[in-house]
Structure formats: C-alpha cells, structure tokens
Amino acid sequence: MDYLYEGFLNAFVLLFNGHDETWDAIYTTVRVSSLSIFFSLLVGLPLGFFMGHYDFPGKRHMRAVVDTLLALPTVVVGLLVYAFITRRGPFGDMGLLFNVSGIVVGQFILVIPIVISLTATGIESLDERLRPTLITLGAGKNRIIVSTLYEARFAIMTAAVTAYGRAISEVGVSMMVGGNIKWHTRTITTAITLETGKGEFAMGIALGIVLLLLGFTVNWLLIFFRKRA
C-alpha cells in the first residue's frame, strides 16, 4: 500500500509545484472540452429548440435517434472520426488527425446529442401558458424565440454542464483521434491511462484528483441549475 500513499504525496507535489507536463495535460483538457462545448452549443441549441418547440412529421423518430445517441460509446465515435480524418479518409487533407482540432470534432459529435436532447426536453417542459402569454404581451416571432430560450435558461445550462462533464471525462476519442502526444494532444484521461500503464501512479493520481475536482464542480453546478429550474 506504500506505493499508493507515496503516489498521493507525489501527486500533490506535482500539482502545487506546477509540474509542466501535468499542467499541460490539464490545460489541453480544458481547452479541448471548452471548444467542443462551444461549438456543440452553437449548433445544438437551435436544433434542440426546434425539436422542443415545433411539431413536425417524424419528430418522434428524430427524437428517438437523438436519445439513442446519448449513450454513444466514445471509442465508436473515435473510430468513426478516425476513419474520416485519417490520411486515406475523405477529410484526410485537413490535417485533423493527432491534432487538438480532431479531438474537438470527436467530442463535438459525442456531446451534441446531449445538448440537443436536454435542450429539447427543457423547452418541452416549459409551462404551456408561456407562448400565449408572450403573444398577448405583444412579442413578435424573434422575441418569442429569445424569451422562450431565456425561460429555459436553467435547463439549457444543465445541458451545457452535462455535456461538459461528458467531454472532460471521455478517453476514447482523445486517445484514438488525438494520439496522446505529449505537449500536444495529451489530455487528463489519456495521460492517466498512459501513466498508470507505466506504473507512474503519482502523475496519474494528480490528474485523477484534478479530474475528480472538475467532475465535482460540474456536478455541483448541475445540482444548482436543476434546483433553479
């Protein structure tokens, strides 16, 4: 058990002494996840709003597909993205493989169903009196959309936070598409995998602590927003 005790001690040393390699993995994780969440919100929010607000033929089937994609395995996404961005793939010339942009694309695909589904659920669960209230107060089409999104703000934040939690904790996409390249595409999860394999528990534990803290923060925010919603 000494190695565990020693691992914890060294982990704190690495974190508080500003060990470059450890902090680079943390920085990469936050950067990649934030970018993927930004783009997934940009695309997912309007789609989620559309799906929750309007009725259209095939809505139920589309919803079923999106809900199924919530449980998409990260390695499957990694495999698919890899197949498309590898040199032989249709997007091979874009140089996304073993690059931060490639991980962003993979995480975007991984989390966008979460953003769409939770946003749609949030919009659907709004009080049915909202729309007639806005109309009879004189709101036009654009104002109705903006006000509806604002009324669903806590549900939307829940969607964003849930998606962020999924992005920072995934390992399949980052490993397969990013390649776990030191100083470049190494994220917390891929670093933990590697260091544990090498028997270097200190860095693994240090990164694990950071991941847990991030996860705790995300969940705390989730509880907060759910309570407000």
């Binding site: 109309i135 107060l137 004189g138 709101a139």
Partner: protein, 332 residues
C-alpha cells in the same frame, strides 16, 4: 370610429368533441362584457379567439381597428403565469416588446400602484417570492401598463383572496374610465361579474344562452308519460318542463319568469312550486334586485323590484317559494 370593436358571425371552433358556436356577437367599444358559465362551457375558447391566439375553424371574427393589432389586445389567462424573472421585468415586458425605451420605471411604478402593490417593495422581487394573489396582480399590471384597447381577463379572481379580488375590480373600472378600454371578463362568480361588467352573456356546452342572469338547468332531463319532461335537483326536488325540440339540449329559465312568494301558494297554474332560501340580494345596474335563492341544492336567480322586496319583507335567510310554468323553461 366604429361602434363595435368585435363582430362575430356564425363562428364555430373547437377541439375534439367540444364545439363553440357563436351565431352572432357584437362587442361595443369601451364597454365591459362578462362571460359566465360552468367549466368547459367555452369561455376560455371564446377568449382565445378574441385574443387572436387561435383563428375560428369557420365563420367570421372581425376585430375592427382594421385587422388585428398585436399591441392593442392583451389577455390575462386563467391562473397567473409570470416569466421567470423579477417583477419589474415581468411588468415591463410588453412595453419592451413594443420597442419603448424611455421612462419605463415610471410606467412600471404606475401600473404596480394601480394593482395596489408598492413599487419600491415589489419591483425587485423575483417571480417565486410572490403569493398567488400578488402574482395575479403583477400579471394584471403587466397588461395594464400596455393601456390596451381590449383587455381580456379569463377567470381573474378564481384563485385570489377577497382583497385581491377587490383590487382587480378597481383596476378594471379604472382602465375603462381612464383609457376607454373594452374589457371582456369571464368568471364563475356571477355576483362579482355583475359588479364589474355592464352586460353578461352565459355559455353552456359551447352555446351562448342569452344574456344576464339566466338560470341554466344543466340537469338530467327525462321524458315523462305526459308531454312534460322532468329533472331532479341535487337535493331531490323535481322540476318540470315542456319538452325540447330536436337539437335543443340546454334548458334555460329566465329570472323574470320566476315568481317569488313568502307563503306556499295554492291553486296556481304553475307546474313548478319549489321551496327555497334566499341567499343573496343584489341591486343590479338596471335597478332591479337579483335574488339568489337556494332550492334543493341549486342556486336560482330571480329578478324582483325594490317595491316587491320591501312589500314581501324579503331578506337573505328568508324562506320563499319559487313559482314558474313548465313552459317558462326555454330549450336552446
């Protein structure tokens, strides 16, 4: 300017099996109209049509300032709904939707004062920090601030205390007198409705059953052996009516067609002689007294003159007999 603000002609609208039928209805500009009737009779459907939230399935509904203007008709729905934001933002929402930017705080303060809420105290409160009555008054303030041409209020006092009810009544009168707003209000409470409106129309099963205090005898009518039909009131008393014609489903008894007597009359031609207790006496705008009498578990409205009430020494709590002919019950 045209006399009528709304003209409805053969309007038909509904959901599933329910159908609202309005053969003809004209609403005079600047007046207040009450809609009375039981749950599911079509009051809210009519309100939604007048608000422009829905278009009638068939027929013609004209709003007469040349087409519907988004900012001139507003509606307060049953059970106040507030946006998830501060009272100030709720009240100012409609003004912002109109693109107004100046003196908003003053307008909000004025609207809140009209519903007897202290602006200083309430402007900064959040939607969840209000009681039911306060929320209803904030929702009303959000409509009042718009100074609309038409104010539609769907059951505004259904779930509020007496104080809120009084304040809402006062706000309605002020809107009418100060801004010449046409007000359409629906309510179960006929007494309250009569106090804030000039005319009342009654609805039942999606049909307009005349105006005023008509008694809608929404009972299980059974055809008797003779030509008469009979129905049992909740307390067990039986009433008789001449039969309906094909397609007529609702029995209505006009309050002018009921005779009140303190003693049980004998030898009259009236088929119906029912014992009741006077519950309420209200002087109507027209000067007649509307008597609410409970007969075998059902409330009947009866119109009498002041002189009759005085001669009979009729007061709430008095026992009285209600007389009316079977043919006085009209089927629609």
């Amino acid at each position: 300017m045209k006399k009528y603000i709304y003209e409805l002609d053969n309007v038909e609208h509904g959901y599933g099996k329910f159908r609202l039928l309005v053969p003809e209805l004209k609403i005079v500009r600047g007046t207040s109209l009450g809609l009375a009737g039981p749950n599911g009779c079509g009051k809210s459907t009519l309100m939604r049509l007048l608000a422009g939230l829905e278009e009638p399935a068939s027929g013609r509904l004209l709003y007469l300032p040349e087409g519907r203007k988004r900012h001139s008709v507003t509606m307060l729905q049953q059970d106040a709904f507030l946006l998830k934001r501060k009272v100030y933002d709720n009240v100012v929402y409609g003004l912002r939707a109109r693109g107004e930017k100046f003196n908003l705080k003053e307008f909000v303060a004025e609207a809140l004062s009209m519903v007897n809420l202290d602006p200083e105290k309430f402007m900064g409160r959040k939607w969840h920090q209000l009681s039911g009555g306060e929320a209803q008054r904030v929702a009303l303030a959000a409509r009042i601030i718009l100074k609309p041409e038409v104010l539609l209020l769907d059951e505004p006092v259904a779930n509020v205390d007496e104080e809120s009810s009084r304040i809402i009544s006062e706000a309605i009168r002020t809107m009418k007198s100060r801004h010449n707003t046409t007000v359409v209000v629906s309510s179960h409470d006929l007494t309250w409705l009569a106090s804030v409106t000039e005319n009342i129309i009654k609805l039942s099963n999606g049909k307009i059953l005349g105006s005023g205090n008509s008694n809608i005898l929404d009972l299980r009518w059974i055809k008797g052996r003779d030509l008469l039909w009979h129905a049992t009131l909740p307390g067990g008393a039986t009433i008789f009516s001449s039969g309906p014609r094909s397609g007529e489903t609702v029995a209505v008894l006009h309050p002018d067609d009921i005779i009140l007597s303190r003693k049980k009359p004998a030898g009259t031609s009236a088929q119906n002689c029912l014992e009741g207790v006077v519950k309420l006496m209200v002087t109507e705008n027209s000067g007649v007294i509307r008597v609410e009498a409970e007969v075998s578990g059902k409330i009947f409205n009866i119109h009498i003159t002041k002189a009759s009430a005085s001669r009979m020494q009729l007061y709430p709590g008095s026992k009285a007999y209600l007389l009316f002919k079977a043919t006085s019950i009209v089927w629609q």
